[in-house]
């Protein structure tokens, strides 16, 4: 259990080292070189670091919004309502997303739908993107894969607050999605005869 001690040799700086003249000149050389290199040097444009990067200068500034950085996969961005084959949103107005949302930014009004297994649809579906904390709970809570945050863009900037409340029509986007579990019930109206399920 002996304590190990290490004796660190510090170089003793005399006057001539402490004058830092040589380091000073070197430093000026580095900054001057950076100056001229950034003014006229060309970046190796074959490596793709970010989309739509214009210009080939060596500076690291991304001229947003002309140049943007790609968001990583799995990025939680702007919401979208997923459509069914007939173009209506997959949402059945079950209020799961509205209930779980910590910021209470989803407002839903339900309406009746005839088809068995669906029963309801949202007459109003509004998300206030300014309240949204981008947690993704609504996506996790939805039983029908009706809401996703995979648009890979952030909520767009608005010039006034009411413009940030997106309604059903503006949220509905993307290719139609249908899951195997839909086939059991979709297309069958409650009033028409029901035949045993199975596919």
């Amino acid at each position: 259990m002996a304590i190990k001690s290490v004796f660190v040799e510090h170089p003793e700086y005399g006057v001539r080292e402490r004058m830092y003249v040589r380091e000073a000149v070197r430093g000026i050389a580095i900054t001057t070189a950076h100056f001229f290199r950034n003014l006229f040097g060309k970046r190796d444009t074959s490596t793709v670091e970010m989309t739509e990067r214009q210009g080939a200068n060596l500076m690291n500034t991304i001229a947003y919004p002309e140049e943007k950085r790609d968001y990583p996969p799995g990025y939680r961005g702007m919401h979208r309502l997923v459509p069914r084959e007939d173009g209506k949103p997959r949402c059945v107005a079950c209020y799961m997303c509205a209930t779980v949302c910590p910021a209470q930014c989803i407002y839903i009004e339900a309406g009746e739908f005839d088809a068995e297994g669906i029963e309801k649809y949202p007459t109003r579906f509004e998300i206030d993107e300014l309240r949204c904390i981008v947690c993704g709970f609504c996506v996790e809570a939805c039983p029908k894969d009706a809401i996703r945050m995979d648009t890979n863009t952030h909520a767009p900037a608005v010039l006034s607050r009411p413009l940030a409340v997106h309604d059903k029509e503006s949220l509905l986007s993307g290719p139609a999605v249908s899951h195997p579990s839909d086939a059991l019930t979709y297309g069958k109206s409650r009033n028409s005869g029901s035949h045993g399920g199975g596919h």
């Binding site: 170089p11 000073a24 580095i30 950034n38 006229f40 490596t47």
Partner: protein, 516 residues
């Protein structure tokens, strides 16, 4: 990526690259292939430029030279036209020359050259510091007519120049807050006291000799006073008032401390500022700045231009440091501190604050001009003046000399900016240490030695002494660093200790011996 930054984390990323996805690291690899193994790079490799960059740099310099030439042309023509106007108005030719020069120099030199250069420097500082730091700098402000510009100029950022207008408008329209309990009179005049001396200093700086332009005899110097250098010292001392009064009248303890810091720093370096120039006075035996410039024509031993730098190299370093400290700039900007510490202008808003900032840049221009006049021959061209006078005439020579002054001033403004963005800020005790314990003894020694040498061997002897100084200092400094076998350089403890034993007595040596 700045390779200076990529150097260190590259070694970590090299390991992580196996586990994480590669797309974030491709750019690093792309750059790293240009250099040696990242961590072991020597600085010399990083500082090298490609030929394309070098030529581009030359092109940029040529462009700037053209712009400066344009400004000089405007100034010289303006002066000549004012004199012609006075003559046309009925003044006698002698009077017209006198008054035309006076009016023209005040309006054109001071108001146009100094102010335009200072204003452009505010933007230049932001852009050039950005280029040094691998970023773009301000380029988003637009005047509104850019979309109507032709061809390649359409929708450009105009190199960030609209930002100057944006800054000025912002400062003009901000609310002027005056502290309630402070000294209101002093509060209002402090910016003027900071700004005035900076401006007024330029009055004695000779920008050109008396030459004939467009038929009129013009001298680009506001006032030819017999005691030019003493005037410089006196006015530089006045500049302390601005910051002290600003700190005092703000009724704010932190501002007061900032003002005291600024004052202490400035008065510490004023003595050095004066002392470094005494050597020049001894050698050239004049206080008049225009005579000083004139005497720096010709050659030392027929080869080197007769410039102050070859007589007083140590004085140059001390002067540059003292001047930077005097204008509270470069590594000596602790009083204003920016993000670190409360400065003396914390209570100022709007245009008063703008005046403090502009005063700083005007001082940069003024001290660059002084530097040129004192140590770099003022308006003299380094070589070839007789040839130009013979082949192109006296007017061309005069104009080229004017141009050389403005170019040299511009270069030293740029140097001041680069020095600011290269070195970290000095701590306050380091500032005081440097001023009193290092630069002042150095400048006094310089004065004594210069006096002895000049007395004994005259000006030529002083020239030889100056060049010897330069060689000795360079050799001494360079000798401290040893080259390792792999080509990198360092200060090694072993070699350092060995040389210290020779240079600093046996104390360190004995301490080491006792430890072993």
């Amino acid at each position: 990526m700045s390779s200076a930054i990529a150097a260190d984390p590259h070694s970590d990323l090299g390991h992580a690259a196996d586990q994480h996805d590669h797309h974030g690291h491709d750019a690093h690899d792309g750059h790293a292939h240009d250099h040696a193994p990242a961590v072991e790079q020597s600085v010399a490799a990083r500082a090298r430029l490609t030929p394309r960059e070098f030529l581009g740099g030359l092109a940029l310099l040529g462009f700037i030279l053209t712009l400066i030439a344009g400004m000089c042309l405007v100034m010289a023509a303006g002066m000549a036209l004012i004199i012609k106007a006075f003559k046309a108005g009925g003044m006698s030719p002698a009077d017209a020359t006198l008054w035309g020069n006076a009016v023209g120099s005040v309006s054109l030199i001071v108001l146009v050259f100094v102010m335009v250069l200072a204003t452009l420097l505010t933007m230049g500082e932001r852009k050039w510091s950005a280029f040094i730091q691998d970023r773009m700098g301000p380029n988003r402000a637009r005047f509104g007519f850019e979309k109507h510009l032709p061809g390649p100029l359409k929708d450009t950022s105009l190199w960030g120049l609209p930002h100057i207008a944006a800054d000025v408008l912002k400062m003009l329209t901000k609310e002027e807050i005056v502290p309630d309990m402070g000294n209101k009179v002093l509060f209002h005049i402090a910016p003027a006291l900071a700004f005035g001396p900076a401006f007024v200093l330029f009055a004695v700086i000779p920008m050109s000799p008396t030459f004939t332009f467009l038929g009129e005899s013009i001298t680009m110097q506001v006032a030819q006073v017999d005691q030019g250098l003493l005037y410089i010292f006196a006015i530089a001392s006045l500049a302390v008032l601005g910051s002290s009064l600003a700190g005092w009248s703000s009724n704010n303890k932190y501002a007061l401390l900032g003002g005291v810091r600024a004052s202490a720093q400035m008065i510490s370096y004023e003595v050095t500022l004066g002392m470094t120039l005494v050597g020049l006075m001894i050698i050239f035996q004049t206080l008049r700045l225009d005579t000083l410039s004139q005497l720096q024509g010709g050659y030392i031993f027929g080869v080197l231009p007769n410039w102050g730098i070859f007589y007083q190299p140590l004085a140059i370093i001390a002067y540059f440091a003292a001047a930077s400290a005097e204008i509270k700039r470069a590594p000596f900007d602790l009083p204003e501190g920016e993000s670190e510490i409360v400065g003396y202008f914390i209570e100022y808003s709007g245009l008063k604050f703008g005046i403090f900032m502009i005063a700083e840049f005007v001082e940069v221009v003024v001290f660059a001009g002084l530097f040129t006049v004192l140590f770099f021959g003022g308006w003299h061209l380094p070589w070839g003046e007789e040839w130009i006078a013979q082949n192109w005439g006296a007017t061309a020579l005069g104009f080229l000399q004017f141009l050389s002054f403005t170019t040299k001033t511009f270069i030293f403004c740029w140097l001041s900016l680069v020095v600011r963005w290269t070195f970290p800020r000095f701590r306050y005790d380091q500032v005081m240490n440097l001023g009193w314990k290092m630069l002042l003894p150095l400048s006094i020694a310089n004065v004594v030695l210069t006096a002895l040498v000049t007395l004994q061997w005259g000006r030529n002897g002083a020239a030889i002494f100056g060049m010897l100084q330069l060689l000795l200092v360079v050799a001494w400094v360079v000798g401290a660093f040893k080259l390792r076998r792999d080509g990198t350089e360092t200060l090694l403890p072993a070699e350092g200790a060995a040389s210290h034993a020779h240079h600093h007595g046996h104390d360190a040596h004995d301490a080491h011996a006792a430890a072993h």
